[in-house]
Symmetry: C2
């Protein structure tokens, strides 16, 4: 009788009595997966500890047996996504093409996950295995191209800085530079905004403003970095 009652309750309301369940309901992997699904459905505003728990059919407080804070959840998601950054070009392409490919992939992944950028940029990579794997592949690509070990990290950080900022730019509204009623006070700026990209050069296909700026900046930085290290190095 008691057993039947418990089973019935489980089926009907998915209610569960207190206490440790026979087999664990949660794990880092399950939490990560549920968080990603939640984000893809409702965005980051939908990622709350309560919603996450609900999607895992668990009480919110249960999550805290597996993560210390919501920041920990974000770190799990971040490291998972870092695995989607494409570093394969470093194995096949010359340095400049490989950097361009990696950077674009990196930007595209995190343009869809802006709230993670402070997490990546500010939190140590300790215990973020996919992130470390990514850095190892990039470092190897730089070293193989002849970069001095003491300069690699600075160069990667510079590129990452540009990538993070560009990820924000992808999400900027089209009218971000519309000065509105203040336009007369900034005539040259307003004119430049209107003229932006007219007669789009053939080389860089101008699919949209963010891509054009990213392409321009990336090309400049790669060329500039190559030149910094000596013209014959790369």
């Amino acid at each position: 009788m008691g057993l039947a009652l418990a089973e019935t309750a489980e089926l009907h309301q998915s209610r569960r009595r207190a206490g440790r369940p026979p087999q664990a309901l949660l794990s880092s992997a399950r939490i990560t997966k549920a968080a990603l699904k939640l984000i893809s459905h409702d965005g980051y505003k939908g990622l709350t500890m309560a919603a996450l728990a609900r999607s895992l059919n668990v009480a919110p407080s249960a999550l805290y047996n597996h993560v210390r804070s919501k920041q920990d959840v974000l770190l799990l998601v971040e490291d998972h996504l870092m695995g989607r950054v494409n570093v394969s070009a470093f194995a096949t392409e010359p340095w400049d093409a490989a950097v361009a490919s990696w950077a674009r992939s990196y930007r595209d992944v995190f343009a869809a996950h802006l709230p993670l950028i402070p997490v990546i940029a500010l939190l140590p990579v300790t215990n973020a295995p996919a992130t470390i794997t990514m850095y190892e592949a990039v470092t190897n690509g730089f070293l193989r191209a002849g970069w001095a070990p003491e300069s690699v990290i600075d160069a990667v950080v510079a590129l990452e800085s540009f990538i993070y900022g560009s990820a924000y730019d992808v999400n900027a509204p089209a009218d971000i530079f519309d000065a509105g009623t203040l336009a007369p006070q900034a005539p040259h700026f307003s004119e430049a905004v209107e003229q932006r990209g007219v007669g789009a050069c053939a080389a860089a296909a101008r699919s949209n403003d963010a891509d054009a700026a990213f392409t321009l900046g990336l090309k400049a930085m790669i060329a500039g970095l190559a030149a910094t290290l000596g013209p014959g190095t790369v």
Copy 2:
């Protein structure tokens, strides 16, 4: 008697009876100033609508007669800070030196105000007069250096992207690249992190890691942008 009581109450508890006061207590300027003071004392975690109201000796709901939301407060602060970005070099220095000066100033201002970066990067500049003034000065600097009007905004956006990312980097902890127990799985990366900046080149004074990466990236991007526009242009 009634009057005396009210005055006493005002002195002792700064309590105020309901209703519109004889002269306005709040304004955009006062709110901005109070927010900045609050931020400089307690950081952005201390910037709450309740704390802001308290520092202005006002009820929290009173703020909503002057701003639509907390985002509005952030926008006020952002525009105020944009006035601190130094664009004076565009009037005196050649293009590359002026860009370098502006970019460093820009980064330094917002490195101390990271939570504003999403606000700058994502919100239209409409009704942000200081921000528009800054863009006008920068645009003029580019045009005077011979830049084509249709390319100016893309170049500025590319530089800004790098600046925003670099502002994050300033706030990264020193051990951000410490792989911890996973170091053996990324030997070249770990080695490069250790070797970072050894024998710091004489040219770029290496005050710290973030400055070194910023200096390297900025130099590269400026050189690359100048080259993109044709070697003789600048």
